[in-house]
Amino acid sequence: MIRVKTLMSLVAGAGLLLSGSIAQADESIGSGARAFKQLEEILPSPNVYRDASGAPGPNYWQQEADYKIKVRLDEQNRRIIGAETITYTNNAPTSLRYLWVQLDQNKFNNGSISRRTETASKRDGKDSLSFSALRREQSHEERPYGAEIKAVKDARGNDLKYTIVDTMMRIDLPAPLKTGGQTVFSIDWEHNIIQEASIGGRGGYEWFEENDTYIYFLAQWFPRMAAFTDYTGWQHKQFLGQGEFTLEFGDYDVEITVPSDHIVSSTGVLTNPGAVLTKTQRDRLKQAEKSDKPIYIVTPEEALENEQDKETDLKTWKFSAENVRDFAWSSSRKYIWDAMAHHQEGGKYDTVMAMSFFPNEADPVWSLYSTQAVVHTMDVYSKYSFPYPYPVAQSVNTWAGGGMEYPMITFNGYRPVLDKETGQKTYSRRTKYGLIGVVIHEIGHIYFPMVVNSDERRWTWMDEGLNTFLEYLAEVEWEENFPAFGNKTNLLDSITDYMTSANQVPIMTQSDSVISFGPNAYTKPASALTVLRETVMGREQFDYAFKEYARRWKFKRPTPADFFRTMEDASGVDLDWFWRAWFYTNDHVDIGITDVRSYTVSTQDPEVEFPQDRAQKAKDQPEPLQQSRNREAGIKTRLQRVPALKDMYNDNDEFTVTNKDRNEFNSFLDGLKPWQKRVYEKAMADKNFIYFVDFKNIGGVPSPLPVTLHFEDGSSEDMLIPAEIWRFNSMNVTKMIIRDKKIASVELDRHHQTADADFGNNHFPQQISQSRIKLYKSDRKRKDLMADMLVKLKDRAKAEAKGDDKEVPLTPAN
């Protein structure tokens, strides 16, 4: 219950407010100014390439790289043999004397920075080696990895000088490439394909031991032009594994030669279906173009039959892709292939083919959900950004877990399991939703960053954060309570463990230096955008600004400043304070309600006020036990025993009304100016309750205050106080709330919409909260069931462990 007092007068009330502010200012002076300071010196200066509104400037430029590639998969040796011709167009306002090419496969070379900086392990203070680490080492010993450059030549066939620096290669041009100029050169290369499960990477091959079959998925596989940009020149941060990539847009013609019984899925459109597909398959594809549900192009039965033989004849699949920033493909004789049409308006393609490729091991869950999830992603993402800009969108099952994206093609995990007892394939609820989630996420990446071409190697959050945010929107639109964060788990609740931890780095950290990659680059920025949309800006303003950002930077290169500026520019909402707190600091959201004081406006009439004051004092200062127990014990006071001691003070207390008090009240009324009298009389008629609610910013991030007032009559009222309330003092604020009925309690952020880390201080009066462990322990039945199961398992483990060495010592080398 909130205690009610009367303000001594309207004037006195104002004085209370002022004195409160002055008392708090000592420790927090200037804190609001610091929190709401504009990002002027933090953001790069606007220029002719990127303007102050966050849009591309009048002289915006970017390079172009077009590729013609012929590649052969040597299945026998798990090896790639490739030749490419690159046409590079220099649109920069400067001449280039050399070009940089990325060789990401060199990350797997034993001499790479990545390999040489791997660290060893200790457990329990002893050196240790896990099976996975040992297998990785063995794989690296078995054969060499990395790009083997066979030739680098100009258009006339002359050798070009090149220098390899870890995962980069510099090609020295015979003459500077001037602005607007083009150069054509070729690279022949080969490399061994890694086994992804052993070495780890974004591409490789997967081996199915049971039937000795393979899936190949080639990502970051060919020498690719490094990005050359207005903000950093050549992008030559070496590939260390964590920071992904950014490249130049261009057109690709790629010929992929594989065993003739393989099915190939690739970036781009298949240009020679007559040469590689059967008539039946071509007919099915045509049927799928008009279908609103997936149609098999290769059925599960056909795929099963296909993988029994191992053809050595070759076929060449030809693909063409326009305006893409990379090219990836996958090939296997195991693939089932299904497809359906996605129809859209306003884009370059009215019909987009959504397709999935997967082995029988991935069914039935893939047949049910993969291609449908591809279509759903385009439905939702296009609504918040732009129509899907390519003719195909593909989901390929290339590994058991995880996911990875490339233009028009994504590599996704999740498979059912074989029940050992029944021999039947089953999939869990989580496998189902995990698959839908990963397909949405990776297909979503075709928008961000494959089209909105942010620089993943510098700012992971720009694609992962934005995409995770959109992924959640799409998941909620797939079905209510989608278990991405549904049931009891709110995205904003899931980030608080991370945001309250130490050893964080801000979101604005270069990709390879990010600590706790997932929460830092995925969940925290996604949470930030969710808070922006649902609480700070509102959906209408957020959606308009976000769509404008996507429109402005489609097929261009945005930087963080372009995003920050566009979101402000298009919405009319100053968000510098938000970017500063969420993206440039490690602060978190934790606002507490520290006090609520309740008043009514004093009549100043002593006949009314003094009795109330007397009653209030009695409430505030209950009779001491010493006194009441004396009375109960029959102890007589001296005054009772000696009545002569009694005088006027014994008959009147400090609240007895005197003529002096009455005169003062009359003087007060006479002294009021006409407008003050009207205010006084209205206040007397309204009989409102006035509340002073104190908020403390414990976490450091200024936050809007979604407040719920619970009234004594059982009703409640939600109100949203904008974050600007913290602009003078970002540590403590007091909000005055006037209502015509009594408030019983005040609650903050009841819908969990601000990422508040501690709800223990979000109620006034405070509510008792229990830790998860205490709540768990209080459920005796559940706890006992678990305890019984633990005992059972421990006993079983003891029995199994008898005579079985759990640690295998290796003999040290002499």
């Binding site: 329990d124 680490a133 990785r136 992804e196 499960a197 998860r772 069931l785 199961m789 421990k794």
Partner: protein
């Protein structure tokens, strides 16, 4: 002189037969462990909560070759197995003395499986040492994030790759 060290291959009770070393653009795999140091009538109580994404726990169970294959994390036995596995891959020392940790139980809530442990200390220690290897033996890219809380103060230890024990002053 080259000092000789004994090198051990560790085997864990449940999950050790396969390993994934993927690099994914999707959700990064990590566990979050919270150690809450609370004053008790005599000394301190430590409430330990491990929070692991359901997908990761489920995936690990799928890879298990110890009878858990095909189990759903929703099953009591699977949760118990996971709790045992977690308790075997999480150790604590205070001022260099090993601390006995009691396994309380496990539950699934929303997208996460929670594993609960408890420990008691007679006196407040100066330093805490943690060995947290949860699922890093299964997924090469898995990380363990350990928050050590005392009141409003937090210390964090992050374990990645093959990293071993780490220490921090008690906040």
């Amino acid at each position: 002189m080259i000092k000789k060290f004994a090198l051990y291959l560790f085997s864990v009770l449940i999950l050790m037969q396969f390993s994934i070393t993927g690099a994914h653009a999707h959700r990064t795999q990590m566990s979050i462990t919270t150690l809450e140091y609370l004053p008790a009538a005599a000394g301190m109580t430590i409430e330990i909560t491990h929070k692991i994404h359901y997908h990761d726990a489920q995936e690990a169970l799928l890879l298990s070759d110890q009878g858990a294959t095909g189990m759903s994390v929703m099953e009591l036995e699977a949760q118990a197995r996971f709790a045992l596995y977690t308790s075997q891959n999480f150790s604590l020392w205070h001022d260099n003395a090993k601390t006995d940790v009691t396994l309380i139980g496990a539950e699934v809530d929303g997208d996460y499986i929670y594993i609960y442990q408890e420990a008691t200390l007679e006196t407040a220690p100066q330093t805490i040492t943690v060995d947290c290897y949860i699922l890093r033996d299964v997924f090469g890219s898995f990380g363990n994030h350990v928050n050590i809380r005392r009141g409003r103060n937090v210390q964090t230890l992050i374990f990645q790759g093959d990293e071993g024990v780490k220490s921090a002053p008690l906040p």
